[in-house]
């Protein structure tokens, strides 16, 4: 091993680590605000990347219909709820607008020549298609159970993850996909040659993390979310709606997931079922942060990326084992350090 190899490996590790860090942050956010271990986070990565890929391949993404289906289910639930309250069959304006949005988008991706659109428009369309699924999932699957134990919420997550992987196969097919690189400028720093795409990933992740930190520290909405994470009951007494907190959290999580997907898709081949392993590594990162600390989680995820890169070099057959064995000393140390906290009663 010489310096050049060391640098390339480090660069590879940081690139992957940056993506894991984004996922670690969103998993951590979802857990601290809603107590949901959001296993389907990886599906947002895959859905984002594959939607983009199918647009570039000239196929209207079928995922638009999933959005329509979710909106329909929500509209029906909304109708039923309102009927119980007012004995009248009337759709709320918000639900109607959502349904309209979904249908318009579904028609739009069919009509527009998606493969000829500029890349930025494709990215925006992808966000417009996938991100609303996040809050929708929260409202449909988690909100009715918001008071249940962490374990019940996790079971819902697993079920949702399974369903989404199956739907992914149906919508995107079994083939792996890649998307065109956003930037293709050859760069040369001394001996190493970091792809411009890799640099973009690190840059975007860093900017996003700083932005998130600022939002949580300075804005009212960010503070509200932090309050919910800190003390759910207290936050509710102060007038912060748990439904709003859940929606906002899942919106952010979905955004980060889709962004990660779009960022890594030019570098690697993604399959309909790739999401789980990627988000699992983000999860390891957030565990290192003890599911409480954001900076430690981000650093942990970065560490996972680095360890992965170096173990792939030294002992490739045992790479995954090394990465996941890393959890054991961390958990051991954590359990020594922390007192046992009873599950919060609601």
């Amino acid at each position: 091993m010489n310096l050049q190899i060391l640098l390339i490996l480090a660069q590879d590790g940081v690139t992957n680590g940056a993506v894991y860090a984004l996922l670690a942050l969103s998993i951590l956010l979802a857990f601290s605000v809603t107590r949901v271990l959001f296993i389907p986070q990886g599906e947002f990565v895959v859905y984002g990347a594959l939607t983009m890929a199918s647009m570039q391949g000239g196929k209207p993404p079928l995922v638009a219909w999933l959005l329509v289906a979710f909106s329909l289910v929500e509209a029906v639930a909304n109708l039923a709820a309102r009927y119980r309250r007012t004995r009248r069959w009337r759709l709320s304006r918000v639900a109607a607008a959502q349904l309209g949005y979904a249908v318009v988008l579904a028609v739009l991706v069919r009509v527009l020549p998606v493969s000829h659109l500029p890349v930025l428009a494709q990215v925006l369309l992808t966000f417009a298609l996938i991100v609303p699924l996040g809050p929708q999932m929260y409202r449909l699957f988690y909100q009715p159970l918001a008071g249940s134990s962490v374990l019940v919420l996790m079971m819902v997550s697993i079920a949702l993850h399974m369903a989404l992987v199956g739907l992914g196969l149906l919508m995107f097919g079994p083939e792996g996909q890649r998307i065109e690189p956003f930037v293709d400028v050859p760069l040369q720093f001394g001996a190493i040659n970091p792809g411009s795409q890799a640099l973009l990933i690190v840059l975007v992740s860093a900017v996003l993390m700083i932005a998130m930190q600022q939002i949580f520290a300075r804005t009212v909405y960010g503070k509200a979310l932090r309050a919910v994470a800190f003390n759910r009951l207290g936050a509710r007494l102060m007038g912060i709606s748990p439904a709003f907190a859940g929606n906002a959290t899942f919106f952010v999580a979905a955004c980060l997931g889709v962004l990660s997907g779009i960022l890594i898709a030019p570098l690697t081949t993604l399959y309909f079922d790739s999401g789980f392993l990627i988000s699992l590594k983000g999860f390891v990162g957030s565990i290192i942060g003890g599911l409480v600390s954001y900076p430690v989680a981000a650093l942990g995820a970065l560490l996972v990326g680095l360890i992965e890169a170096f173990s792939a070099f030294w002992a490739s057959p045992y790479k995954e084992i090394i990465v996941f064995t890393l959890l054991i000393p961390v958990l051991w140390w954590r359990s020594l350090k922390s007192r046992h906290i009873e599950e919060e009663e609601e």
Binding site: G176, Y271, S274, A312, S316
Partner: protein, 383 residues
Amino acid sequence: MLLKSISMTALVAALAVCALPASAQLKIGVITSSTGSGALVGIPQKNTVPLLPAKIGDLSVEYLSLDDASDPTAAVTAFKKLVSEQNVDAVIGPTGSPAAMGVIQFAAQSGTPMLAPTGSAAVVLPMNDQKRWVFKTTQNDDLIAKALVDHMTKTGIRTVGFIGLNDPFGENWYRVFSGLAQQHHIRITDSERYQRTDSSVTGQALKLLASRPDAVLIAAPGGASILPETTLYDLGYKGRFYQTHGAALPDFLKLGGRKVEGTVLAASLMLVLPEIADSNPSKQVATRYIDAYRKLNGSTPATFGANVYDAGLLLEHAVPIAEKTARPGTPQFRSALRDALENTHDLVGTQGVYNMTPADHSGFDERGRVLITVKDGNWALVK
């Protein structure tokens, strides 16, 4: 009253159907991985089922197609269900090598011939009492590997770096290839493993690069075969790339683009059909299959589907022979069917010509593979 009599009639009719002599029907179970991680391989296989012979002689054939979701445990459950509840006469499948390995003992226990469209030669080699019930409709790894090693020796390649998937496919390939390489005095400079879902193989690629091989062999089925090659290309590797028959699918060209130009692989002739001489007996069979598949599904089949089609051809040939001994649905018939399959001689399939022997249940010879290279973004025959 009327209702009762109708339901009675229906019941009697149903019983009558069941009681009909079983000779009119042959039951074949099919297990594919049409969902889950093996779906890329399993879907063309499932789509091929409607193209299997609907009638063999005077027997009508019923196909019971099950999905194992790429889970070996589910494959075993599906197999047991087909054998004990449906009393099938033979099983085509399962798709994955781990699943096939798990099913073998139950095939032997129930005495049901099994036609496996799986890649790994481990399902029929080394031959033993259980594996005598298994027939494999793909080329053995060593047949493909021999073609590659021959090409290496002919073009003066002395050192090879190996990278394979961390699963039975990759392991078996390493075993077969390292043995052959030793015989031909080719040195393996480095051997690496990776996962199908890996988002980066830079570490492995760097180590390969550092060992400075003349060529690199990548052993992975499906789309996973592309990542190591593009990574090495990006890192500036200038040597030749070899791929296995696992890379033989249209996606390889689509996802690899110009980076896979010049790659050499050995696979069935289906990829380069127009270039194959008309005298090759398989050309006609393969063309027939591809046309039928395209008409039904609107897309060109991957070779994986053809492996299931060949299983149908093998059965079409063996069933009439077995029928002389016993009636379908009996253990005697299944045993006779096994014997008939084992005695298959010069049967032309889509992939090559089958000559089964008690020791060789794959039955391909060098007519079962051709050397192919990527030229101007398309498959081309190595001349």
